[in-house]
């Protein structure tokens, strides 16, 4: 077990305990919606409406090196290619491909499998990972090939199997049922990024998963490390602190320290892609909450939340839905939206009345649990009085929005909402400020230019005047010379 730790964080007992973790194969959805949203680049659809597609067929290909392909996860006919709402923090619409199932589940010919990955070059493997559509499946969705490709001297590969959010158990199940695949996936990643060692981090309440991995691991470069069960230990920077006692600087990246973090689900996806030539078309999603009996489902990407929830026989009460963990997840308004590559869980909770928000009594519990060491109540105070600059001085941008402070606040103040609002607002303000600054700069330059022109013109005039003067002086001089000469001639004449 790791000896290190980080300050703050909270221990939340899993509120929806199940005695058995298993993976249920979800039925084929009738329709899928594949969002093509990625980071900078945009995958371009390479099918058109009405086309027949097979499972695993590329429906959107990459053009930029930063993007990954999208694959059909069911066989059927392309219904539409248009922009749709998906569950995303930004609330933006994204371009999506909708496919209607033919109910056959026909796969593309994926040309065998079970090959030795050591035969491939690193570049080929990176290409395979990119073409298989693999992104970080923990939540952020950062393209995996970019992460592992960028490295110059990576010494440690951290495999995040902490799953610190209470209730979520998809990674737990994955580790219990696919330990061999995970270990092999890690070996592939080790081979690509050239790290000396890999550390699998597991929370100590997942003993079954720990034992499963321990029994299959024959590689002495792979350590399996248990860390205390505490919420926010899954956050990349805090996990690195807990495992290696290295503090990634504010605004810095793990890779600057030679560390790469990958989610445990991602390693399984890498295994599937490299060994089985199988692109990412499904993932394991936990359906939990007090409205349903908790279960893990392996479900095709793009299936609707509704499709998954209908399989769990929820109780008849009214529900709230939440995607991701109960702490950091996003509320789902419309359950017809699709499941994405980063959807780890969906919470189905009975609707309860919201607790009444009371005044902050400065009890300081929020700052005790803040893993970053911020003073949430101070930030709240400044944001409430619209003093954003002061809030920024109190390191607001470092907030990871883990919601620990929300959880412990005795006055039920939605602190994180205030913080994310202030962050967005100050970002907006910075943009506005930049615009103002640019305008001012431009104005200043114009003033300067006009001034300069004036000076230049004055200089030109001066030069001209000077030249004229000189010319006149010269003429004068010549005239004088001439008169002198004439006089000399006259004098000479007179003498004669």
């Amino acid at each position: 077990m790791s000896n290190y730790s980080f300050k703050g964080g909270i221990v939340i007992k899993n509120p929806y305990l199940v005695n058995k973790v298993e993976i249920i194969q979800a039925s084929l959805p009738k329709k899928i919606i594949l969002p093509l949203q990625k980071f900078d680049g945009k995958a371009k659809p390479c099918v058109s409406v009405g086309d027949y597609v097979l499972v695993g067929q590329v429906v959107a290909s990459t053009e930029s090196g930063f993007d990954v392909s999208s694959h059909a996860s069911i066989s059927g006919v392309v219904l539409s290619i248009d922009t749709q709402d998906i569950v995303h923090k930004s609330g933006f619409k994204f371009q999506c491909i909708t496919i209607k199932s033919d109910g056959e589940d026909k796969w593309i010919d994926n040309k065998g499998g079970n090959v030795d990955f050591l035969h491939y070059s690193k570049e080929t493997l990176v290409g395979i990972i990119q073409k298989s559509g693999i992104v970080g499946m923990g939540g952020a969705g950062f393209p995996t090939h970019v992460k592992i490709n960028k490295v110059l001297d990576c010494h440690t590969l951290i495999i995040n199997g902490t799953e610190c959010e209470p209730g979520v158990m998809c990674d737990d199940a994955l580790m219990q049922f696919y330990p061999k695949e995970i270990i092999l996936g890690i070996e592939i990643l080790l081979y690509i990024c050239g790290a000396d060692r890999a550390i699998i981090a597991i929370e100590d309440d997942k003993q079954a998963a720990y034992q499963a991995l321990l029994t299959v691991n024959r590689n002495d470069r792979i350590n399996i490390n248990q860390i205390p069960t505490k919420y926010t230990s899954g956050a990349e920077k805090l996990l690195i602190k807990a495992l290696l006692d290295i503090e990634i600087l504010s605004g810095g990246f793990a890779i600057n320290e030679g560390i790469i973090c990958q989610n445990i689900s991602t390693t399984k996806a890498v295994f599937d892609a490299v060994i089985n030539h199988k692109p990412l078309v499904s993932r394991i999603v936990t359906v939990t909450g007090d409205g349903v009996y908790p279960n893990n489902f392996e479900v095709r990407l793009g299936a609707s939340f509704e499709h998954l929830i209908s399989m769990t026989s929820p109780n008849t009460k009214e529900h709230n839905y939440r995607m991701g963990g109960m702490m950091m997840g996003i509320d789902v308004v419309d359950i017809n939206m699709p499941i994405g590559k980063t959807t780890s869980a969906i919470f189905v909770n009975n609707k309860v009345s919201e607790p009444i928000v009371q005044e902050c009594i400065r009890c300081g519990q929020c700052s005790e649990v803040c893993p970053i060491g911020l003073l949430p109540q101070q930030l709240y105070w400044y944001i409430k009085s619209k003093n954003f600059e002061k809030a920024l001085n109190y390191n607001l941008p470092d907030c990871i929005e883990c919601a620990c402070c929300d959880y412990v606040c005795p006055s039920h103040i939605p602190l994180v909402s205030y913080f994310s609002f202030a962050k967005t607002f100050s970002k907006q303000q910075t943009i506005e400020q930049n615009k103002v600054n640019t305008a001012r700069e431009r104005f200043k330059y114009r003033e300067y230019r006009l001034e300069r022109n004036k000076l230049e013109r004055a200089q030109v005039m001066l030069d001209k005047k000077k030249a004229l003067k000189e010319k006149m002086a010269k003429e004068q001089f010549q005239k004088q010379k001439i008169t002198e000469a004439i006089q000399r001639v006259k004098q000479a004449k007179d003498k004669i």
């Binding site: 980080f6 300050k7 920077k237 805090l238 602190k241 503090e247 990634i248 600087l249 504010s250 605004g251 810095g252 009444i356 009371q358 005044e359 902050c360 009594i361 400065r362 009890c363 300081g364 700052s367 005790e368 893993p371 970053i372 060491g373 911020l374 003073l375 109540q377 101070q378 109190y394 390191n395 470092d398 005795p410 006055s411």
Partner: protein, 304 residues
Amino acid sequence: MMRQVIYALALGIVVSYYFFGWGIVLQIVLGVITAVAVESAFLAFRGRDIISSISDGSIILTAILLAISIPNIAPWWVIIVGISFAIIFGKQLYGGLGNNLFNPAMLGYVFLLISYPLQMSTWPINFLSFDQALEVVFNLSNIDAISGATRLDEIKNSLSLSNSIKQLEIHFPSQVWINVGFFFGGLYLLFRKIISWHIPVSFLVGIVITSVLLWISNVDLYIPMQNHIMLGGTMLGAFFIATDPVSASTTINGRIIYGFLIGVLIVIIRTFGGYPDGIAFAVLLMNMTVPLIDVYTQPKVFGQ
């Protein structure tokens, strides 16, 4: 949360009742009734929700803290004036719960101490029956025989009569037991994690260090450490008054500084000041410094 604090006070109140009788009960009842009435009136005036503010218990806690701080044979109007002042000037004028700079109960206490020094310095010496308490508090008849000064006052007075500490007989008077009562109440709060240990511990450490230093400097002149700890309102101050989250420092290091300096100030005020007990003054003085302490004790931010 505030309710737990009220429960924790019960033990000390029971001990106080055991020694001094019904006076304290009368004061608490008067205080709570006045507090609820004044708070409701003010909230109604400000157009705020009355029920949610009253039900959080903070105002009742303020009333109880003030009621047990003042002498329990003080005339009925003392607590009424005190609690009204505490709520109006200590709390509502700052904008209600969470916004006050000073500890309202202590503000009320100091106001009373300055305005009515006579009524604020007489304590009963015996157990008072309900009838006796009623008579004293409502001024129905004058019973001088049952009142006297506090132990700290007594010590101070005899010191000023140039008696040496050694000549004074130090008993285990009622106040010691009351302090023990509040100490265990405080332990309950710590155990239930209602308060953190930082303020009470640094508070007591501040008292111990300062009083020991003074005592070493002149054994005859200064009160020994154990008397500072066990007399007056020390335990009530350490666990219930200085720990008021609203007016205390909020950072961990800040709390340690805050508590420690209150302890130091208490001994200094008790020893050199004109008033017998310095808790209220020390707390209010440190309340003023909280914004400054908070600024300079910000925790280290991860990655910076």
